[in-house]
């Protein structure tokens, strides 16, 4: 954990949020393990809601609420959030009845969906509190691109690979996955980031780089 020299509350800029300040020591700690576990737990519950309420089939949903945990979690907590975002859909799919190897095969899609927003915010120094139009734009593009990858990987590679879909029916599932993620992301991600980022960035769990 870190100690700083200035206890007074200062308004942080986006640059400062993502930059390790001089004298600031950041290190991996138990809190990151705990955050990963808690995110998996939340994601499992929230993701199951989407799988049960708006299913298309085989873990593909018209409105997947788990995307919020996947993407917001990784923006806030770096690779710990990415790990959680990659793993929890496996569990929520398993409980929903998706066979073991199909659930496992979704992992690359979930990894990219979690990783890309985290990368975009750090690379472009977007403010997780969404203070400007630029921040909204970066988030939207990251959501769209990552969901596009997920949408192409999952129905095309996984479901088609397991023979669960014909080539002709793949587009429906691609759009279902893509739309289900982007729409849910638009509904939840912006609000969550706006409401809680101000608090999260001041906690010891917040990750500036990738691991700490």
């Amino acid at each position: 954990m870190s100690t700083t020299t200035t206890p007074a509350r200062k308004e942080l800029t986006a640059e400062q949020i993502w930059t390790v300040q001089p004298g600031e020591r950041r290190s991996v700690g138990v809190i990151h393990i705990v955050i990963t576990a808690l995110l998996i737990g939340i994601g499992f519950v929230v993701g199951s809601f989407g799988s049960i309420s708006f299913p298309l089939g085989f873990g593909v949903n018209f409105f997947w609420t788990g995307i919020a945990v996947q993407q917001v979690g990784s923006i806030w907590f770096g690779l710990w959030g990415v790990i959680a975002g990659t793993i929890f859909p496996f569990f929520s799919n398993a409980i929903a009845g998706t066979p073991f190897y199909i659930s496992a095969a979704y992992i690359p899609a979930n990894f990219v969906q979690a990783f890309l927003p985290a990368w975009a915010f750090r690379y472009f120094k977007a403010d997780p509190r969404l203070r400007s139009g630029r921040d909204y734009f970066i988030l939207l593009i990251a959501m769209i691109v990552s969901s596009a990858f997920g949408a192409l990987w999952s129905p095309l590679v996984v479901l088609r690979g397991f023979g669960l879909l014909t080539t002709e029916s793949v587009p429906l599932f691609v759009w279902g996955w893509f739309g289900g993620n982007v729409v849910a992301g638009i509904v939840f991600n912006f609000i969550l980031l706006k409401a809680l980022s101000g608090v999260v960035i001041r906690t010891p769990a917040f990750v500036k780089r990738w691991w700490a």
Binding site: I33, G41, I42, T65
Partner: protein, 286 residues
């Protein structure tokens, strides 16, 4: 009764005599079986076998009923994907027309094959979850020497999921106590309400992270540094001994898998050409 991932199983169940590693091994290997079997009748037999195992293990079969809608919806999706959304294929045999859409025998056949592959895979997962306590899964993970932090994160994630569900219930009950009733409200309203749940659930989890961290650190747990390299005794494994029958089960599962591969690729069994179900279905639909 002992609580498992999907319900309760009586303490007298013979499944508790089986080492958790064997159950995990069964899940990992038997889930693969259907991928090598095209003939639906064989996959159906595997499904029946797994259901029989659930009965022997004294799993409450009502758990299976929960997954019937899942199985039906998956079957419907597969059938629709293969038939109505399956495109036009002049080279295939048309068995009938549905509102002008040709329904091909080959597509119906392939849909059957895929569906009967999925069913035992689902059943294997349900069998594993309904016969495994949380501790069993952790023991299985520790037996295959997964790092402690991985098993610990898994255990904490399970606890966290339970706590999130409880928090969710509390928030909803508090709302209902104040007269809130979502019945008849539009979907957009319900989604808006759901967002309002997510924020406090996240906030509660963030606060819990601090408490859990303090608790772990207070018990001497460290993720980095010298203290993290301490050799852990894995005390939980002392309650589970890998017995002769566990070795026999593991061997039988392995041999069954090898036999399956030999039969499939060496002797060409389990293919569609030898499937009496497919032949019968073809006769019926033609």
């Amino acid at each position: 009764m002992n609580k498992t991932m999907l319900g309760y199983v009586p303490k007298e169940s013979p499944i508790y005599a089986v080492h958790p590693f064997v159950k995990l091994y069964f899940l990992l290997i038997v889930s693969l079986f259907p991928m090598f079997v095209a003939a639906p009748e064989w996959n159906f037999l595997l499904l029946v076998f797994i259901l029989a195992l659930m009965v022997i293990s004294r799993v409450d079969i009502r758990i299976v009923r929960i997954y019937i809608p899942v199985a039906i919806s998956m079957g419907s999706i597969i059938l629709i994907s293969y038939t109505i959304l399956g495109g036009r294929h002049p080279e295939f045999q048309v068995i009938f027309n549905l509102f002008g859409l040709p329904i091909y025998w080959e597509r119906v056949r392939d849909a059957m094959v895929v569906y009967f592959r999925i069913l035992p895979m689902i059943a294997t997962m349900v069998f594993f979850l309904s016969t495994s306590r949380e501790r069993d899964i952790i023991v299985a993970m520790r037996t295959i020497r997964l790092p402690f932090v991985v098993t610990y994160v898994f255990a904490m994630a399970l606890r966290s999921a339970g706590m999130v569900l409880e928090d969710f219930q509390i928030v909803r009950q508090a709302e209902q106590a104040r007269g809130f009733d979502p019945t008849g409200k539009p979907l957009t309203y319900k989604i808006r309400k759901y967002i309002m749940y997510m924020i406090p659930l996240f906030a509660l989890s963030l606060r819990r992270s601090e408490e859990f961290t303090n608790a772990l650190v207070a018990r001497g747990y460290a993720f980095t540094g010298e203290a993290s390299h301490v050799k852990r005794a894995d005390y939980v494994l002392t309650h589970y001994t890998f017995k002769t029958h566990d070795a026999i089960f593991t061997t039988l599962i392995t041999l069954a898998f090898i036999a399956l591969l030999i039969a499939r690729y060496g002797l060409h069994y389990f293919s569609l050409d030898h499937s009496w179900f497919i032949q019968w279905l073809h006769a019926v639909l033609s």
